[in-house]
């Protein structure tokens, strides 16, 4: 029920912002976040940004999986955009 969608903040106006994902724009409230900035990626749920996504942590998680489990990726973490689907 409470699916949260990752989106990028493109405009901020006080407690209100506009966020985009896959060409879709949504109004999003920032009441639940501390110090959001344009360009931040957030998880959006029922019209509110509920948390920010941390790119450093995402990178570390992927690196760790590669190291510990030797699970390869189609691309590397450095160039993950050679998407094949």
């Amino acid at each position: 029920m409470c699916l949260a969608i990752p989106m990028e903040i493109t405009e901020i106006n006080g407690n209100e912002a506009v966020a985009e994902a896959g060409g879709i724009r949504k109004d999003v409230r920032l009441d639940l976040l501390e110090g959001a900035e344009i360009g931040d990626f957030i998880l959006m749920h029922t019209g509110y940004a509920i948390e920010k996504l941390d790119p450093e942590e995402a990178r570390e998680t992927l690196e760790l999986i590669k190291k510990v489990y030797r699970a390869g990726m189609t691309g590397s973490v450095e160039s993950p955009d050679n998407d094949e689907q």
């Binding site: 409470c2 990752p6 409230r29 639940l32 501390e34 749920h45 920010k52 955009d81």
Partner: protein, 377 residues
């Protein structure tokens, strides 16, 4: 070092890597290679997890003896019929608009549902955010606007924020929010199904933080992982949890969803929830009352409680488990949906017989929708 592009097209960029087929396959073969000395049961408590697991066919990748149970993880499925009955009572009133999230719209209560009430001419509107409900109230000053406030911690934050921001005189809520940690404690106390470890819900965890589950390690010594929702996240979570169980105590709560879940959680959301609501006992469909697992309005906000305001009486007769439905066993991991005689015949997403078939995250619904899925892609 050139950083990877962070685009949000779910299939590419940094965050899209969590979909990466090669990585998922690598993890799934590591998982398949595990040898278990005894059968293990892992439980997740999140509808979104169930959906991803069913969609990616993750159960078919598990080693022999590893069981993945879908616990009470969907706020719609665990919402008792009595709460839906209250919404139905409100919808029957003159000059009243009932607003609800889409998932609640079709949940049956006895022979009726909000959807059927609407078909009967009642004013029931599906909203996507609590803010939409507040807006409807502002636009309809002559009517009473009731919002069915259902959800776990994830949704309680936005609901509290909307109320805190100020609501018009004619706005009230039917409170039906539930909290995950007391439910986990309840499951552990009951010793139901002897759970070897928990996969904790990623979005609830954004609010609670890893700290919100410290009782699991301190009081119960149960291993747990906080996991995201992409195939790589879930496979990594199952692997990490199984390895932890196999290695033996001391157990801990591992945060494997660090890109959004922090140690302390979303403190601002916690504070807002705490300002507007306080914990109280709450009924869970098919489970019964769990201490301090629900949220009621604090005195300052009690004026927007639809029950007192509109004189709604919780019905003692509302039937939580309809004859022929085994949702209560499914929710506790005691039965699989496929064991229900109604599954796919008397009960389908188009004509749901029980709540687990209604919400897109209900266990029966996810299992039905992806019943032909065997492989990951």
């Amino acid at each position: 070092m050139s950083n990877p592009p962070i685009t949000m097209n779910s299939r590419d960029g940094l965050y899209g890597s969590f979909h990466d087929p090669a990585m998922a396959q690598g993890l799934s073969s590591r998982l398949a290679d595990l040898v278990l000395p005894r059968p293990l049961s892992l439980m997740h408590v999140c509808g979104t997890h169930e959906q991803s697991i069913a969609k990616a066919g993750i159960r078919s990748m598990l080693p022999d003896g590893l069981r993945l149970i879908a616990g009470p993880g969907c706020p719609v499925c665990v919402c008792p019929a009595a709460d839906i009955d209250l919404a139905v009572q409100a919808a029957r009133r003159e000059d009243t608009i009932v607003t609800t999230f889409g998932d609640m719209f079709r949940v049956p209560s006895g022979d009726t549902s909000l959807e059927l009430m609407k078909a009967d001419g009642c004013d029931v509107r599906v909203v996507y955010s609590p803010l939409d409900a507040v807006k409807i109230a502002s636009e309809n000053p002559g009517k009473e606007v009731v919002f069915v406030a259902v959800g776990f911690e994830t949704t309680a934050g936005p609901i509290a924020a909307s109320i805190r921001a100020g609501v018009p005189e004619n706005f009230s809520i039917i409170r039906s929010m539930r909290l995950i940690p007391p439910a986990l404690e309840f499951l552990l106390e009951k010793g139901r199904g002897s759970i070897d470890g928990f996969i904790l819900p990623g979005h609830v965890s954004t609010v609670l933080g890893r700290k919100g589950y410290s009782f699991l390690e301190e009081k119960y010594g149960v291993p747990a992982v906080i996991s995201g929702f992409e195939p790589v996240d879930i496979l990594r979570g199952i692997l990490g949890l199984t390895e932890m169980v196999l290695a033996g105590p001391p157990f801990s709560v591992l945060n494997l969803y660090r890109r959004v879940v922090s140690e302390n959680g979303n403190v601002k959301a916690q504070e807002l929830i705490d300002e507007v609501f306080e914990p109280a006992p709450s009924n869970w469909r098919g489970i019964g009352s769990i201490p301090l697992s629900g949220l009621v309005l604090r005195t300052e906000y009690s004026g927007i409680d639809a029950l007192t305001r509109l004189g709604l009486e919780p019905s003692a007769e509302a039937e939580d488990v309809r004859p022929g439905c085994i949702c209560h066993e499914v929710i506790l991991g005691e039965s699989e949906p496929e064991q229900c005689p109604q599954f796919g015949t008397g009960c389908t997403p188009r004509r749901p017989h029980g709540p687990c078939m209604v919400s897109s995250e209900g266990t029966c619904r996810a299992r039905y929708q992806y019943r032909h899925t065997g492989d990951i892609y």
